[in-house]
């Protein structure tokens, strides 16, 4: 069963390095997301695995067969790699009907006419586009075109499926719907999916593992919830999650299970299981908005002022002002705090993070009590 291995893959264009020394192993049946801001090299990585782009250095193995090796001079062309590719703009052939678009790949594989007809019918049914089979792509809406593109990609039953930002051209509602269907499709087809996106929500909700990249460098490669709860560095912590994590600069002292933190507008102690020895060290405290708890009555320890209040019905996003620091809090219900009201706050849970300010790496996690 196919496993994809990337070893020291580097792609240099004349002026910049798109992908820098990337090591990645994708196991059979996984749903991997390549996530990152635009220009971080995720599409280039995908295209290199598919064979549409040639790496400058390194080695790629699909199903333990070397498909690319810079040192051995191997470069298997994309049509021999047995993969499917779904393009961002669908790349449907405008001069072929929906049926012809889906059947084209099967004709190349020299399938018999009846086999092609039944396979196309099966796909049309699976993606609920039977009634469009005789139409041309220009006569379909964006969502319908998307389905045709998926059907065309799935038709030859590829073991590995590459998807390049397939949902970015759809409207918000359709995107949500297609997200569900793609995840379902992954289970039904039992194929390996490699999915490129810049939308962290898509990555979080769909994938089994997320590969987060920045400027061609791999940042973290873990299951979505690990990436969310234990981001390896400040970039990952900031990129994943909406609203974004609160970052508060502080000085840290302590060792073992207890660290004393001194921020500009509050003091707190952190209880953690593992922590390095710190003495007046520059750190950044990372707190997810859902761990910031608001109490109506300001207690003695700390209080803040409501800066803005945005109820969306299901949840409420609140900005708190503590001196010069701003804190974001999310409450799972609709509340309407008056602006400028004085409130108390506290931090809950054991997923409060501590980052080293200089290296930006996470150094500890635990719970935080105000003192």
């Amino acid at each position: 069963m196919p496993q994809i291995v990337l070893r020291n893959i580097t792609k240099r264009f004349t002026k910049f390095v798109a992908v820098d020394n990337l090591d990645l192993t994708i196991n059979d049946g996984e749903f991997i997301t390549l996530l990152g801001p635009s220009g971080c090299g995720k599409t280039t990585t995908l295209r290199m695995i598919a064979g549409l782009e040639t790496p400058t250095e390194g080695e790629i193995l699909i199903d333990s067969q070397v498909v690319f090796s810079a040192t051995k001079g191997i470069n298997v062309p994309p049509n021999k790699r047995d993969v499917g590719f779904l393009f961002q703009n669908y790349a449907l052939w405008p001069h072929m009907t929906v049926y012809q678009n889906i059947a084209f790949g099967l004709e190349n594989l020299k399938w018999s006419k009846s086999d092609i007809a039944s396979r196309v019918a099966e796909l049309l049914a699976l993606l609920k586009i039977e009634q469009f089979s005789k139409r041309y792509p220009s006569e379909l809406s964006g969502g319908q075109q998307q389905r045709v593109a998926i059907a065309r990609t799935l038709a030859p039953k590829p073991k590995v499926l590459f998807l390049d930002e397939p949902l970015s051209n759809l409207d918000a509602k359709l995107r949500l719907e297609m997200r569900t269907e793609l995840k379902r499709l992954h289970l039904d087809t039992k194929s390996t999916f490699v999915y490129v996106t810049h939308d962290q929500l898509e990555a979080m909700t769909m994938s089994t593992r997320v590969c987060l990249m920045k400027n061609g460098l791999l940042q973290q490669y873990d299951p979505p919830l690990t990436v969310y709860n234990r981001p390896i560095n400040l970039f990952v912590a900031d990129f994943v999650g909406n609203p974004t994590m609160n970052f508060i600069s502080a000085k840290a002292t302590g060792k073992g299970s207890s660290i004393l933190l001194e921020a500009e507008s509050f003091k707190a102690s952190m209880t953690t299981s593992q922590a390095p020895e710190l003495k007046d060290a520059e750190v950044v405290i990372g707190i997810r908005p859902e761990y910031v708890c608001i109490s109506d009555e300001p207690t003695g320890k700390a209080h803040a002022v409501i800066y803005s209040n945005m109820p969306s019905g299901m949840e409420t996003t609140i900005r708190l002002q503590l001196g010069k620091t701003m804190l974001t809090s999310v409450i799972f219900r609709g509340v309407d705090y008056p602006v400028d009201k004085k409130v108390g706050f506290s931090f809950i849970g054991s997923d409060i993070l501590l980052f080293d300010k200089k290296s930006e790496r996470m150094i500890a996690s635990g719970s935080l009590q105000l003192i």
């Binding site: 599409t43 280039t44 295209r47 598919a50 549409l52 782009e53 062309p77 994309p78 049509n79 021999k80 993969v83 499917g84 590719f85 393009f87 961002q88 703009n89 790349a91 052939w93 405008p94 001069h95 084209f104 790949g105 190349n108 594989l109 041309y136 220009s138 065309r152 990609t153 030859p156």
Partner: protein
């Protein structure tokens, strides 16, 4: 209540008119609509009416009618004189010789040469945009040379190179015959074959520019999607690339067809010496004797032009059509030609040197030899360029062309004409583009859009004929003014195309941002819109300039004397067999055009291919 609503809802007509004309775009469109109707549709009607009119001279004698009266004589004579009683019947009849045979020749030449142009230009376009061929820069620069050069350049080169004493008029030997002693047969030197080849090669760069533009805009993902689905290279080209570019390819074919059909200079050089006539050359000779019949041929050529436009419209309107091959693909993977890369590149470079550089060398050579056919150093002189008071030159001028007042005057007029046409056509193109894009979808916008493209489809020679017919009715259309007018109208399509494409790339908000801060319209044009799309707009100026400078067929009917501008003068010299001066003038025109083209290109970034390719 309802009445009150009516009153407030309906605007008085006066207000409506004021509202309408308060928008500059509407004013522009109305002005252009009226002007273009006057400058294209009215002359067209004049032309048609001229075909039914008796002209002075032989027509008046033959019909025994007064000049200007109504007659069907021209039609009868040209189209229906199917048997003059000659021994071969139809094959010797007036209609066959004057009309049907040239018509068939025109068809044969146009079809062959447009196919050559499409295949050659298309292949080069594919190689340059889609493969990793070597010398890309050189190929793409030099390949457009033949298009920048006057159309007869290659024809002249062909005859300079291949002519020999055994064929045609056979006055002297060309380079091949005198240096290598090879005598080419007549079919190779004059007639159908060389005309088709030369026209095909001349318009290949035009096809290259158009097809290259399409390929560059075609989404490479469409081809990659096929690659992923295990399609072979050959099958991708035949099933994906070709069908997708086919509509655009077809309209390119039609445009090239329209251009080759109206070509005049090439058939004159390579056809007339052996009495091989096409419609354009026939029409020209009829213009001196039977004007009415000449106008009929012009009308036939126009009908072809309009038919081509209609076919094009019908084709792009079909259900399967997909003119929107836009959408830039950022990552294009080039086809690896592997070992073939070098041989193909070397072959192409050799062909390009033959096509674009050798002709120039040949003109230089021919312009410095004293006795034709002798290429030894002793036989060479620069007298034809810089000689002064030399009676032995014996070619209507005792001075070399750089010192001859007659030729310098013609050069001055040529430049004046080209600059005037480029300024008028270019500015109108910018304005028309602005109006058409701003009011896109409205009747006026569509009408002006089509009218401004219309002159493109009228064969140059026929267009000249139209204005000649018009000059008999409108007295002030004469001399230089007529030339400038006809040139400006004829080249408006180039300028309006680049104007439209430049405006389409510009979002509305850019101008609106200036409207909000109450910048007047002219200032928005000059300070905001023009500077942003400077290179596109300037391409709209450059193309009319280059075309005017090298144009012959458009002006040949309208020049007061053949000494007026360089191209007609060149034509006259080569008819008289004054080869040295002819070659020297030709080289002078080419050098002026190339220098101006590259200077403008380097200074502003405007280029010929931008103008056409959009």
């Amino acid at each position: 209540m309802a009445r009150l609503k009516d009153k407030t809802a309906r605007m008085p007509l006066g207000n409506k008119v004021v509202m309408f004309f308060s928008k500059p775009a509407n004013v522009i469109l109305v002005v252009f609509f009226v002007l273009l109707c006057m400058l294209t549709l009215y002359p067209l009607l004049t032309l048609v009416s001229e075909t039914f009119t008796v002209h002075a001279g032989r027509e008046a004698t033959a019909t025994k009618q007064a000049r200007g009266s109504f007659t069907l004589y021209s039609f009868k004579k040209l189209l229906f004189t199917l048997d003059d009683g000659g021994s071969e019947g139809f094959k010797e009849s007036t209609s066959w010789i004057q009309f049907y045979s040239p018509l068939l020749n025109t068809m044969a030449v146009s079809i062959t040469s447009s196919v050559i142009a499409i295949i050659f230009g298309g292949c080069v376009a594919w190689l340059v945009t889609r493969s990793n061929i070597k010398f890309k820069k050189f190929i793409s620069t030099v390949f457009v040379f033949p298009y920048i050069m006057p159309s007869w350049t290659l024809a002249m080169f062909w005859s300079n190179f291949f002519k020999n004493v055994n064929v045609g008029p056979g006055t002297s030997n060309g380079i091949l015959a005198s240096v290598f002693g090879i005598m080419m047969p007549e079919w190779f030197v004059y007639g159908f074959f060389p005309i088709s080849m030369v026209l095909g090669l001349h318009y290949a760069p035009f096809a290259y520019i158009l097809i290259g533009g399409i390929l560059r805009n075609m989404d490479a993902n469409l081809e990659e999607a096929a690659t992923i689905l295990k399609t072979t290279r050959a099958r991708i080209v035949s099933r994906i690339t070709l069908p997708i570019v086919m509509p655009a390819l077809l309209s390119t074919l039609l445009l090239v067809f329209a251009s080759t059909m109206s070509a005049y200079a090439v058939p004159v050089f390579l056809g007339s010496p052996v009495r091989y006539y096409v419609l354009s050359t026939k029409m020209m000779s009829l213009m001196n004797t039977y004007k009415g019949q000449g106008y009929i041929i012009a009308s036939v050529m126009i009908i072809f032009g309009v038919a081509i436009l209609a076919i094009n419209q019908w084709f792009t309107g079909k259900r399967k059509s997909f003119t929107t091959v836009t959408g830039k693909s950022s990552q294009i993977s080039l086809v690896n030609l592997k070992k073939a890369s070098w041989p193909i590149a070397v072959l192409l470079v050799i062909i390009l040197v033959l096509l674009a550089i050798l002709p120039l060398v040949s003109f230089a050579l021919e312009s410095v030899i004293i006795k034709a056919g002798d290429y030894s150093i002793e036989n060479m002189t620069l007298d034809f360029w810089i000689g002064r008071n030399l009676s032995y030159l014996d070619q209507g001028d005792a001075n070399g062309i750089l010192l001859s007042p007659k030729i310098l005057k013609a050069l001055g007029y040529s430049l004046l004409l080209a600059v005037s046409c480029s300024v008028i056509a270019g500015t109108c193109g910018v304005l028309a583009g602005y109006g058409i894009v701003k009011r896109r979808g409205s009747f006026l916008s569509t009408a002006v859009n089509n009218l401004s493209f219309f002159p493109y489809l009228l064969p140059s020679l026929a267009f000249g004929a139209i204005y000649l017919a018009l000059s008999t009715k409108v007295s002030f259309i004469t001399g230089m003014f007529a030339l400038i007018l006809v040139g400006s109208v004829k080249y408006l399509p180039f300028a309006s195309r680049s104007g439209i494409s430049a405006m389409l790339q510009l979002s509305n908000e850019i101008e609106e941002a200036a409207v909000i801060v109450s910048v007047p319209w002219w200032k928005r044009m000059v300070r905001v819109i023009f500077p942003i799309q400077k290179s596109s707009f300037l391409s709209g100026y450059l193309l009319p300039f280059v075309s005017c400078m090298r144009e012959l067929s458009l002006f040949v009917l309208l020049v007061p004397t053949s000494d007026t501008i360089l191209t007609t003068m060149l034509m006259q010299y080569s008819e008289k067999g004054w080869d040295q001066f002819g070659n020297a003038i030709n080289l002078l025109i080419i050098v002026v055009v190339l220098i101006i083209n590259f200077t403008v290109n380097k200074l502003t970034g405007a280029s010929i291919d931008k103008g056409i390719g959009g």
